[in-house]
Symmetry: C2
DNA sequence: AATTCCTCTCAAAGCGCTTTGGATATCCAC
DNA sequence: GTGGATATCCAAAGCGCTTTGAGAGGAATT
């Protein structure tokens, strides 16, 4: 059924060496010969045996994941979406996953074990915190890694892919300010996560440039679930001086926030404006909200796919990729933002 | 650093064959010799090289996952929890995952590709529907599999692990009936999923035994998210004849339902009783609800771990496990259930 | 004492790939 | 036309394990 290298070489009247080299892009093979080989691969459907490659090269062709699981830890919808991106890309290159569930306080040991096992060539990291200890640790273990997000403080020379959270929420705030809003709330992710800090910073910076200060009372931090969006917004609305506009760190939070607004009988886009960050979750599209949401958009799945690409590229030795990427989130204006009331 | 089989054999003054056999439990090796080998393994920390084993045995030592991704598909919190269980167990046995994201209408092709790739020894299946076409398909592909849940209709001879959903909701209903409730609502999962159907059946059966009929108006189906629990409960409460008790198919749904009840100013456990199915999600404990929830409990993570064990056991050829398991969910009475009002 | 039968062990042959260390042929300049 | 590059290709040696087929030794049988 499936041919192997030996048979393929025989068919071509070449040695295994040459065929192998032709396939792996080595220079010492005639261009014409290479074409013949490639053609034969197409015809026979030859697929190299991964187990044999692993053995011969010593590479694992797989990437390690440490899945945060514990009470209160965001085993959330966002993780699944990101994983889908990672998987989508990995499967193309026939890479496997080694998934290690681990409680946060056990993560260090988990990474150590993972690195020692030789089962993975590289690992992926997320949920960055300030001075995240995992970065120096992985460096010390000298196992390749890419982080999703960025730490704040600590070493700066490590590979990451992040979106420019500060910029995103700066842009969003700027829009609101231009619309005449002066009291702007923020329903943010957990306060110890780097992206939350940066989003808050974006808000602060824009306000300051406008000569305004941040009202800490209008900043809420929580796990990014619908429920908390609702509660936070409810609290905001109960204030004597509620914000006229609110930023949400996720469409999931916005979902709850919108509910609270509706319940209060207010109209989104005129009584109060909303901008949410949109991770492009397939099941929660901002354009399908009762009032389509203005968002800062950046696909989480695309980020997963990109990180997989980089991880795999690094392992295969073709790391022409930039080590650090900062994606800019797109500000998409829809109907949930309008002029500040009474202006 | 790490020793290999050859070195280990040398240390012991045995042949590789004997050492290998000792480790893999073959009978033709002296008990004493085996002990010596095991001791040496402990001392040296020998771990067989998986790549070499893969190559020699032709086994992949990995299991395939088809991750359902698409608009509206439950890339939900429950999936992550189940995955954690799978991973927890797999990592112990040094098994890898091949995760294939796939839209539902593309699943067949995905499975086919997965089976043909030789990258996995077995696959796992969930989100069962009535007459689920994937079961005959996987049988035809003759790739080992275990399903989480059970189909309804279609072939019956396939390996599964399910909880007795009918029984669980039968038990729950029974309790409510004994407490004097006659109008019982159900906030269920998606109507096309087998577990939803069975839970509804459990409710129906208990009602009928009590001489009551099911009021279809009191049954809602939806994706299992907080939001929908809220809406469904709200609808129930707006009726002229609201139910005095409601079953929820998930604590996530119950979360929303409870909110709706609180909002209506009703008291849980006296004005209205609630029983939810508890998948034992670490972030959503029924005992931590404002009024601790009565639940039917069965750990999703444990199910994941068990399925991994069976899958792996099957692959390693020690399948003394029962092919079909039906776990009984535990009915745990807490404060959210009380006598029917006015009784 | 010769034969058979276990029990325990081993040497060696793969599994399918990569990679080292040549070979062979071609080409150029001198 | 000879020495030395240069361009192509190959045979064979691993990678670390499992497994076949067989041998050595001792106990049991005749």
């Amino acid at each position: 059924m499936a041919v192997n290298l030996k048979q393929l070489a025989e068919i071509l009247g070449l040695s295994q060496t040459t065929v192998s080299r032709a396939l792996n892009g080595y220079p010492e093979v005639n261009a014409e010969t290479r074409q013949r080989v490639l053609q034969a691969v197409r015809e026979t459907g030859y697929r190299p045996n991964r187990a044999a490659q692993r053995l011969a090269t010593g590479k694992a062709y797989s990437i390690g994941l440490v899945m945060p699981i514990a009470p209160g830890i965001d085993s959330d919808i966002h993780f699944g979406e990101f994983l889908a991106g990672l998987a989508e890309e990995s499967v193309k290159h026939d890479f496997h996953f080694v998934i290690n569930p681990s409680a946060p306080d056990d993560e260090e040991a988990t990474f150590r074990r993972l690195a020692a096992s030789g089962n993975v060539d590289a690992v992926f990291l997320a949920y960055m915190r300030a001075n995240d200890p995992r970065i120096p640790m992985l460096k010390a273990l000298s196992i390749p890694f890419v982080v999703h997000g960025r730490s704040i403080g600590g070493p700066r020379d490590y590979p990451f892919l992040d979106i420019d959270n500060t910029q995103a929420f700066y842009d969003a705030t700027k829009l609101l300010l231009q619309l005449g809003h002066h009291r702007i709330g923020l329903i943010n992710g957990p306060d110890y996560l780097a992206f939350s800090m940066r989003r808050k910073k974006g808000l602060t910076r824009a306000l300051e440039e406008w000569g305004l200060g941040l009202d800490e009372e209008l900043v809420h931090h929580s796990v990014m679930a619908d429920e908390y969006g609702y509660r936070s917004m409810q609290h905001f609305l109960e204030r004597p001086d509620p914000p006229t506009a609110v930023l949400c760190s996720s469409t999931v939070l916005a979902l709850g926030a919108v509910r609270a607004i509706n319940r209060a009988g207010l109209v989104i886009g005129s009584d109060i404006s909303i901008i949410a960050h949109d991770d492009v979750l397939p099941m929660l599209k901002p354009e399908n909200f009762s009032v389509p949401l203005t968002t800062t958009r950046s696909s989480l799945r695309a980020a997963g796919a990109r990180i997989a690409t980089r991880l795999i590229g690094g392992i295969l030795g073709r790391d022409t990729y930039p080590e650090q990427e900062l994606w800019r989130a797109e500000l998409i204006v829809r109907a949930s933002t309008g002029p500040a009331p009474g202006r």
